[in-house]
């Protein structure tokens, strides 16, 4: 028998607007249904227009928590990784998205929160307490984070070096980081195009990495980022 605690939602008492943009936002039944409806639409579109090929699905951990990382050159990347996940992992998946782009206006924030299920990361404004909350939620709430450690979409489609932020979430924990390599996303939907065009997409999922031995401090974060970058590069053709 384990203790069952009365645990109010982390975002209890927040005004609706603030809640959308809050890293503490916890979803209830309504949000889950909206997100699943959107995921169903995106899944149908991807299957029809892009016939995605997914390799190495057996490398995904049996259950959350874990972090999914990949190279980033297109908005298609988030949609595709959301499509790769199934069951509980799909329901618990949160994309870490640029606050300025996805939460800049109320309309964008509603879409980002309810359809994408994104959590905002604000460039150069992320506080230590924000990182601590994201790190704690990953383990305590059993989440899956979809994260692009380059920090932004590569305009030329060529993967840039990884930033150390990923390390702050997983260094010193046993939480697996699953490297993925995405192909075809940049060609299908580059940063300068308004709409995507059809084309084959491919995802290669690599073996999970663990960083329980790495110290949770700046030098350790750089180590984590480097090992993640190497793992993603190794999966690329």
């Amino acid at each position: 028998m384990s203790d069952w605690q009365l645990r109010p939602a982390r975002d209890l008492g927040q005004a609706p607007n603030a809640r959308l943009k809050s890293l503490a936002r916890e979803r209830g039944l309504g949000s889950v249904l909206l997100r699943e409806a959107w995921r169903g639409l995106v899944g149908t579109y991807l299957t029809l227009a892009h016939r995605p090929v997914i390799e190495g699905r057996e490398n995904l951990p049996a259950k959350p928590p874990y972090v999914l990382i990949a190279n980033h050159s297109s908005h298609m990347d988030t949609l595709l990784l959301g499509h790769v996940l199934q069951g509980a992992a799909a329901r618990e998946a949160h994309a870490l998205a640029a606050g300025e782009v996805f939460f800049g206006s109320d309309k964008a924030a509603i879409f980002a929160a309810y359809a994408i299920n994104a959590l905002p990361v604000w460039r150069k404004q992320t506080k230590g307490s924000d990182l601590a909350l994201m790190r704690a939620r990953l383990a305590e709430d059993g989440l899956v984070y979809i994260l692009f450690p380059e920090g932004t979409r590569a305009r030329d489609g060529v993967m840039a070096p990884f930033k150390p932020g990923i390390g702050t979430l997983v260094a010193g924990t046993g939480i697996p980081v699953v490297p993925c390599a995405l192909e075809g996303c940049h060609a299908a939907w580059p940063a300068d195009a308004t709409w995507p065009r059809p084309g084959r997409l491919r995802v290669r999922i690599g073996a999970p990495l663990r960083f329980d031995e790495v110290a949770n401090q700046p030098r350790g974060w750089v180590t984590v980022a480097q090992r993640c970058e190497d793992a993603v590069r190794a999966l690329m053709p």
Partner: protein, 317 residues
């Protein structure tokens, strides 16, 4: 319009309610102008009155328009209350249980809409049974009692209990009766607050709700019972409920069940260590902070009136 105001008492209740709202605004204005109350209290009173100025017309509207609007109201309020309750207690993480409670709320209100009393009553054991077995296939016994207990509690309060108010709409003469219950429950809250402030004295249950006094509880009981009995005398004139004894018991039921609903929510909040269930109604808190008093009154008053013939429904088939 002629059906809506078929009983003249309906018109009186609507007029009196709007009159009280206008009078309250004038009193606050006079108190503020004369400087007898400070700016902070003035602001709080305006905020609370402002919310009432929105809520009261909604309450009057849903009762007056048609049975279906009243039942839609109990459905929506039930689901909003459930949402606040499940987020505060953590039940919202048990999405399967919440989904069943939502289905139960929809079903019990549908039973009210089509006047199927047999199904309306049966949904209580049926939904509880479903809640008891639904999470078994998850093979997760840890927390079983807590998740089933919270879900059953939620369905009882926001589904089965609250839907009694909507079911009354199957009585062709439901309008003044439902208005009487909804408005006197609201009046009861204001009366307890006012009597407590004016008289003061020892606390009622200080660990549960530090601001409530015995004088407030007793004062509300006296004025609410008197009001219910007097208005009830006009509503039920010539019928089986036209009896002072029964009307006084009905009044006591409204006041006591209303105050118990309030204290019940206070206990839930104290146990969780939170102040309000939400932030949608300025000065009041969440929807549940406002609707709590009605939750226990609806089933209690329904069965009292049904037993004595104060409400009656055409046969289902």
């Amino acid at each position: 319009m002629s059906t809506v105001f078929a009983q003249p008492v309906t018109g009186w209740i609507v007029g009196a309610t709007l009159g009280v709202l206008a009078a309250a605004s004038l009193i606050i204005l006079a108190l503020a102008r004369s400087g007898r109350i400070g700016p902070a209290l003035t602001k709080e009173l305006w905020q609370r009155t402002g919310v009432w100025a929105v809520l009261l017309p909604i309450m009057l509207g849903v009762v007056l328009v048609a049975p279906a609007t009243l039942i839609a109201f109990t459905t929506i309020v039930g689901i909003l209350c459930l949402r606040e309750f499940d987020r505060a207690t953590g039940l919202f993480r048990e999405r399967l249980m919440v989904a069943i409670v939502v289905c139960g709320i929809l079903a019990v209100n549908y039973a009210a809409l089509i006047n199927w009393y047999g199904f309306f009553v049966a949904l209580w054991p049926l939904t509880v049974s479903l809640l008891a077995v639904a999470s078994l296939p998850l093979d997760r016994p840890a927390g079983y009692i807590q998740r089933v207990g919270l879900a059953v509690f939620g369905f009882m309060l926001f589904g089965s209990g609250l839907a009694h108010l909507g079911f009354m709409a199957n009585d062709p003469a439901y309008r003044p009766i439902v208005l009487l219950l909804m408005l006197t429950v609201a009046f009861n809250d204001v009366a307890a607050f006012t009597c407590g402030k004016l008289i003061g004295g020892p606390k009622l249950l200080p660990a549960t709700s530090p601001n409530k006094t015995i004088s407030g509880a007793v004062g509300a009981m006296l004025v609410t019972t008197t009001l219910v009995a007097l208005v009830g005398k006009a509503i039920f004139a010539g019928g089986p409920m036209d009896h002072w004894g029964k009307l006084i018991v009905l009044g006591l039921l409204v006041s006591v069940a209303g105050q118990c609903g309030d204290l019940m929510l206070s206990s839930i909040k104290r146990d969780l260590g939170i102040k309000d269930m939400g932030a949608v109604l300025p000065g009041h808190g969440g929807v549940l902070d406002r609707a709590n008093s009605l939750l226990l009154v609806a089933p209690a008053a329904f069965h009292f009136l049904y037993y004595f013939g104060g409400i009656d429904f055409p046969p289902f088939r």
